[in-house]
Structures are given as C-alpha cells and as structure tokens.
C-alpha cells in the first residue's frame, strides 16, 4: 500500500464518520429555524458569543454544554443498568455505521488507481443499510424495557411494532428498485443514474419508480420515528416514550442518534432516487472533460451569488426598532466579510484548476469535490423535507398507522414489483 492509498482510506473513513456528526448540528439548527418558519415565529435568536449569534447556531452549543453538565442520574428502580446505559449507544452507533456504505462521489481515479468513495467499500450496499437500521430497534426496545416504566414500555412497544412493520414495505419498495438497477451496490446505482432518459431527463430513480419512491420515503419517515410517525415519543400522550427516564448525555446520545439516522436515511433516499452525487446532465466523464469551463462559470457565478447573499444578510440582520450603533449591523458586516473571504479562497482554488492541465489528477479531485458538494446539498434539501413534514402533519392514530403500513403500502409495493418486473422483461 502506497502512502496515497492510506491517505485515501483515512479520508473516506473520516468523511463517513465525521460528516454525520457535523450534520447533527446542521439538522438541529434547521429543525429549530424550520419550526420557527412554519409556525411564523423567529426561532432561536438569543444565544450569542460576544454578540455573534450565527443565525441561531450558537444555541446548539449552548444546548450541548447544558446537556453535558447536567446531572447524569439513573433512578433506583432501574434494575438492568447495563442495558439501560447501552441502549442509547446502540441507537447512535447503528445510525452512524448505516451511512458507511453511501457513496459521496464517483470513483476517484488518481495515478491510474480507482478509489471508491464510500466509508466501507462493500458490494452489498443497500443490504447493509437494511441490516444496520434493523439493529437500532434493539436500542429502542432495551431503553423502554429497562426503564421499568409504563410510558417507556408503551413507547418502545409502539416503536418496535412500527419499525418492524414498516421494514417490510421498505424492503419490498427496494426490490423494485433493485430490478430496475440490476445491482445492490450503491456506487453502481449512483453511476446508473448519471445516464439520460430519452436524452433529456436525468435517469433518476424518482423518475423511473415514483411509486417506489413514495413507499420508501414514507417507510423511511416511520423508521426514523419522526412526526407523523412519532407515536413512540408522543409527547402529549406518553411524555417522551422510550427515553422518559434518560437525562443529560444519555438523552443527548438518543437525540443525536435520531438526527444521524435522519441524515443517513436522507442520504440513502438521495442515492436511491435522486441521483446520489450526480449533477443533473453532467455525469462524471463530462465533468472531467469540461472541468475548465465549469470552473470558469463557477468563478463568475460565485461573486454574483455572494453579492445577493450579502444583501440578504444585510436586510435581515437588523434590529426591528431604531437603535444607535445597531450591534446587529456590525454583526452582519462581520459575517459578510467572512463569507467574502471564503469566496476569495474558493476563487483562488478555481484559478488553480484553470491553470492545471485538463484531464489531470487536479481535474479529478476537483470533480470529486464538486460531487461531494452536490451530494451534501441534495441531502440538506432532503433533510428539509423531513423537517417540513414534521412541522406540517399531525400525528397518526396507532391503528391508522398499522393500517397504512399493512393494508396500503404492502399491497402497493407488491403490485409495483410485479408491474416493474413485467416492464423490465418486456423491454429487455
């Protein structure tokens, strides 16, 4: 193994381990701002460091510190302390490693060798995701059961029944996707989606299999235990469900696990149905060939976008009443300077791409970075859909939930498999 090999392994393991962790902060922030937006209020805007509020991101740090320094207590009635402590870590760990098989860029070719950009380059891809998300049920069951508490037990009963029953439509929706793609490897699926349908539509899973997309997204919402499927927590009826006895960092680990699971399942939805890291109409080969024009257009586009972004920050980050030496205006100016600095750095990198020879390894790295950014932007948009649904729809009743899973999604998924296989056989 050369030094480059070791470096690439380190890069991709680090990416697939740390990006979900970083996205916890982004998700929590988006959730709060999104909730504020949907309920027509401001959201978190008080926590600040020297007057810098970072659009509410500082609130996350404040919450983190609060949870970290809270008293971590286990009440005396809990007999199975080992399971009680282990449960949140099972949930968190399963959520993190379920992201390990998601490709975040196309195979990077450096010095004649290809590097698969996944945390663990495995062929079994989507099956790994199914296996690992199945394990997170254990965390929820153990948490509710070892709490020795009626609310906890009810919550974990509901949650386990829900996750087990929604795994079936999810698996069946996947089967029809596997028939279309002809592989279980997520990298190959993403490469397949770089093609064009009829020459002008990107061949994304969403266009090929809209029914499967619908079933999979509903099942993924249910697996994440989020509203409208949050019967396990059901704050108004079960207090907090399976984590009612948890405090301090053990609660925080549950909380973070939920957001990591949301990130990982958004990443899977993106990879299966929305082209993964593919930029529409520009597959990897085209991007490498046209690396210089793309870099050139980005060089022009970035400052223009930044100009309008700066204007937006300046308009929105002001006090709502006249103030002398408005501190928010100074705050906004600092933000704008930071962002301009970032733009200048990116511009310098882009100039570097323009100078380098075309088709070389610099172009390959540039394309990989571009695809990583595309992937993260798409995942962020999918996370926004999660938040959107959470703050729009009310909670299901329990019998409605089971009816939806077993009597609507399951037959629909089976029908979809039959129709898809008939079409695939007719076309081939």
């Amino acid at each position: 193994m050369s030094l480059l090999d070791i470096f690439m392994i380190a890069v991709r393991v680090a990416f697939s381990a740390f990006i979900p962790l970083c996205f916890i902060a982004v998700c929590v922030w988006m959730e709060r701002r999104g909730a504020g937006f949907f309920q027509d209020r401001a959201g978190p805007n008080r926590a600040a460091i020297y007057g810098f509020r970072a659009a509410g991101l500082v609130q996350n740090a404040a919450d983190g510190i609060k949870l970290f320094f809270k008293e971590d207590m286990i009440s005396d009635h809990i007999k199975h302390k080992f399971f009680f402590v282990m449960a949140p870590f099972i949930v968190f760990f399963c959520a993190i490693i379920s992201f390990a098989v998601v490709p975040f860029a196309d195979t990077l070719v450096l010095g004649g060798r290809g590097y698969v950009m996944q945390g663990i380059p495995m062929d079994i891809g989507i099956l790994w995701f199914l296996a690992v998300t199945g394990f997170s049920v254990y965390g929820i069951i153990l948490a509710g059961w070892s709490s020795a508490n009626k609310f906890g037990l009810l919550g974990s009963l509901r949650s386990a029944a829900q996750v087990i029953s929604y795994e079936i439509p999810m698996g069946l929706a996947l089967v029809s996707m596997l028939i279309v793609y002809g592989t279980v490897n997520l990298s190959e699926m993403a490469q397949y989606q770089g093609q064009l349908l009829f020459g002008f539509i990107p061949m994304w899973g969403a266009f090929l299999q809209p029914v499967s997309l619908m079933i999979f997204v509903i099942a993924a919402f249910a697996e994440c235990n989020r509203t409208p499927f949050d019967l396990a927590e059901g704050e108004s009826e079960l207090v907090a469900g399976f984590h009612v006895e948890y405090s301090a960092m053990k609660f925080a680990v549950f909380f973070m696990g939920e957001y990591v699971a949301m990130f990982a399942s958004s990443a899977i939805i993106i990879t299966l149905f929305f082209g993964g890291y593919q930029i529409p109409f520009l597959n990897t080969q085209a991007l490498i060939t046209f690396a210089k024009p793309v870099a050139f257009f980005m060089m022009i586009g970035l400052p223009i976008g930044m100009y309008y972004f700066a204007g937006w920050i300046r308009r929105n980050n002001v006090s709502h009443y006249p103030r002398e030496n408005d501190p928010r205006v100074t705050e906004a100016n600092v933000y704008i300077k930071c962002f301009w600095g970032l733009v200048v750095i990116i511009e310098l990198l882009l100039i570097g791409i323009l100078i380098c020879q075309s088709g070389g390894s610099a172009a390959h790295v540039f394309v990989a970075l571009l695809q990583i950014c595309t992937f993260l932007v798409k995942v962020t948009m999918m996370i926004f859909v999660y938040i959107w649904v959470r703050w729009t729809l009310p909670r299901f009743r329990y019998d409605q939930l089971q009816k939806l899973g077993w009597q609507m999604l399951l037959p629909l998924a089976l029908l979809n498999i039959f129709i898809t296989s008939a079409v695939v056989i007719a076309l081939s």
Partner: protein, 169 residues
C-alpha cells in the same frame, strides 16, 4: 494473520454468547447474548468471503427473528420474581457437560482424521450477491421459485388473517 485474529475473536465471542444464553437467568439477557452469537457468526461468514450469507445472517437472524423474540420478551414484561426457582441447575449443567465431553472429543478426533486440505478462500467472487444469484436462478430455479411463492403466500395470508379477525370482532 489479521484474519486469524479476527477468526479467533469472532469464534470466542460466538461461544461466549452461546454460554451466556444458557447461563443467564433472565430471558432478556439470554436473548441479547444470542444476538452476540448471531452477529459473530455473521462475522465468521464474512471472513469466508461469503458476503451474501453475511448480510442475510445480519438481516434475517440477528435483525428480524431476534427482534421479534425480544419484542415478545418485552411484551410479557417478565420480572425476576416471575421466573421459576431452578434448584440444582448447576447439577444438571455438570451432568450435561459430563455427557457432552466424550462426544466432543470424538468429534475433534473425526475432524482431525479428515485428510488435510489447505484451507484457502475460494476466489472469483464466490459468495457474492451476483454469483449466488446466478447459481440460484440457473441451477435451482424451480425450488427457489416454489420456496419464494410459499413465503409470499405466508406473508399475504398473515395480513388477510389478521384483518379478518378484527372484522369479526
């Protein structure tokens, strides 16, 4: 070398899990140790480069079946004082071990007397998803289809039966 260390670790874990399943009094602890055994078995399959069996072991045994078992144990909500008092369970255990040891010795002897084969991992993607699929759909198509139809009938039948009982009530 690395593979051998992994093999020893997984083998030890799976045996420890099995011992735990027998020795723990509380059913939840027993079930959790069985999960450890299942996962370490999956690890052993992965070491044999049988990818598909590895992930099926994780999904079906360690995932689906065990979560149903644990779900039922949680549902029954067994407390320590619900469990029967087992007097002389160590006596039975010692008896069992005494019976098994000669059989185990015999088995070890049988395994050792098998003519020595160099244990190598079969190459060419043996055990991958595609290879197993090709074998299933070329050489074993009819049995495979019959079994899959049977499972489909069982799945639909379960849903129909569950729905019917609710209507009658």
């Amino acid at each position: 070398m690395f593979a051998e260390v992994l093999f020893i670790a997984f083998a030890a874990l799976s045996i420890l899990g099995a011992i735990g399943l027998i020795l723990f009094r509380h059913p939840m602890k027993g079930a959790m140790s069985l999960i450890v055994t299942m996962i370490s078995l999956a690890g052993l399959y992965a070491l044999l480069s049988a990818e598909l069996i590895f992930v099926l072991q994780l999904i079906v045994y360690a995932g689906a079946i065990m979560s149903l078992i644990i779900f039922i144990i949680m549902f029954l909500n067994i407390q320590d004082n619900d469990l029967p008092i087992e007097e002389g369970r160590y006596l039975y255990l010692a008896g069992g071990i005494a019976v098994i040891i000669p059989i185990a010795c015999f088995m070890i002897k049988v395994v050792k007397s098998i003519p020595a084969h160099q244990a190598t991992i079969v190459g060419n993607g043996f055990g991958g998803v595609k290879e197993v699929g090709l074998v299933l759909f070329q050489d074993w198509l009819l049995p495979f289809e019959i079994v899959s139809l049977l499972l489909l009938v069982a799945l639909i039948g379960a849903v129909v039966l569950a729905g019917k009982r609710r209507l009658l009530k």
